[in-house]
Subunit: 327 residues, 2 copies
Amino acid sequence: MKPTIKDIAAESGVSIATVSRVLSHKTGTYSEKTQTKILAVAKRLGYRKNSTAVELVKKKAAVIALIINATPTNFSTQIIDGIQRRASELGQGVIILYAGNRNAELQHQAIVTALERAVSGILLAAIEPDAEDLTLLKESHVPFCFVSVYLGTDKVLSVSSDNEKLAATTTDYLLDRGHTHIGLAGVDTYHTGSQRIAGYQKALAARDIQETTIKYGDYSYESGRQLLAEFLPLKVTAIIAASDMVAAGLLNAAQEAGIAVPEQLSLVSIDGTDICRITTPALTSLTQDFYQIGAQSVDRVMGEKAATFVPVEMVERGSVKSVSRGG
Amino acid sequence: MKPTIKDIAAESGVSIATVSRVLSHKTGTYSEKTQTKILAVAKRLGYRKNSTAVELVKKKAAVIALIINATPTNFSTQIIDGIQRRASELGQGVIILYAGNRNAELQHQAIVTALERAVSGILLAAIEPDAEDLTLLKESHVPFCFVSVYLGTDKVLSVSSDNEKLAATTTDYLLDRGHTHIGLAGVDTYHTGSQRIAGYQKALAARDIQETTIKYGDYSYESGRQLLAEFLPLKVTAIIAASDMVAAGLLNAAQEAGIAVPEQLSLVSIDGTDICRITTPALTSLTQDFYQIGAQSVDRVMGEKAATFVPVEMVERGSVKSVSRGG
DNA sequence: ATAGGCATTGTAAACGTTTACGTAACGTGC
DNA sequence: GCACGTTACGTAAACGTTTACAATGCCTAT
């Protein structure tokens, strides 16, 4: 049988209350002598605390729930890493709950599971909630925060890149290099996609360019591969890919079609994970700081100070070529 | 205040025992009438069970702990996916605990945390345990299973690819295509690395080839990049990379050095994740079934039937060239 | 009518902690 | 010697469930 504080109490001739006080470091409530004695007995018995019992009486688990979509992208590792590290610093564990692939039922189920465990916070990574989920979360009185998704309002906690600004920056980057026929590939039809489209359109409009070429997708490699064919007849000279995977798909499809990157087609991807270094040529990217997004979302949900938007960075590699103006 | 079964009991005029029985589907112990009544009240009150209380009285949490290294490789997503899905089928949740990067202290801490929560099983992915950890695990009487690591003994539960056989298969594959100067790049110095080295050496010895060229690494892209230079003076015609990332590193370093793949150098990578499709040329790989490894490890740790070794598959892409015999 | 069985429900203990409250012992200052 | 504060510890309730056991009522076979 696993030893409990009761066993330690009996063994050392004190009450369980004293044992509890010593073991949970309620300093100032016990003498050094009893501390030494109890610690020795605890060690000898191989005592390990029962977190479940602690959580029951405290009515709060020192755990953050992370609900995450099995998206076809690959940044989740960095987000999880950031969350995990920061949570650990704050003395919180992390439960990860998968919500399938935009599966409303599983997504709902994951939230319920988190609520049942009285977690101290809920993080929703790359999740676009429906109205029901949002109500459920709000009524639960458990703090929650969207990660890498911004719902367009500050009423709901959120940590992400500023998608609109990021898309505008990327578009400007290509405009500055002489491109005027610029496509946008692989965006979704939810908040993130809409925000990026808005930034893309604004940047073009600011230079009096009416032509926009938007192709929707699901952020996957396959998505990128398929979309290339749709861009070909449109004589764009540059494409902004909604993810590294989309960019890789576009790149490989282009190479198979005999289109040289960056000579005939420039590519910029949004994300900036390791994928960008691996392709040939390496992909120039608007790099998001996923680690920070994860870390700050923990701060956010735990009530610490944190930014809503995490800065991004343009990283030049080899997939963009400047073209002569008026081209 | 969150409603409890006590509230439901009061509201519907029955005892908490009856409520509990209805809510936990102890069929045959309550009438249909009370069931209807209690369910209605529960719904009206917005009742949600308190898992913590359940776990305390049952002395077991319906949760599997997954302890995982932040390795520089990228297969963890697939493993987690397999674990998550299978666990969910068995009604188990999953807690993921990071163990840093081969950080003995964190690793130990993660095991202790799992033990404190009375989890139903512990999964250790890509973890090489030290003696102390192993003792701790064994004494805890909680079932545990190594994932994607085989300790070389069947006394400890484990699900992985058969590293020795897999390395031999890969080596044979290259031998069959006329290569006789074959390198092995990026293996570690623990169980997995040793087993692969053994397979590699045996396959060569079986064809009376004494020359072996082994370069150690940490499975990372950087590792691959750096190791290429060490192979160059050794005039190997083919290299087996210990991971996709290593292969990608070797590939890109080769291209920068003006060495054509596969014309001048053949590459096979062990893992077979999406990375292999993204590089140019695409990487031929000895593909592991990480999803199955994850899924079966859940079966293993939960006492269901499961294999220790999960089959692998050779997937031909574009990074291997046959050479004329005697080359 | 009666014993036995079954269906349904209630009572209360148990799980392992934390913590409010009470209390005893021991100064300390007067 | 007394009031008081402080220190150290114990008692017992509480957290929200599950479940062994007891109790009740009803039905059936005799």
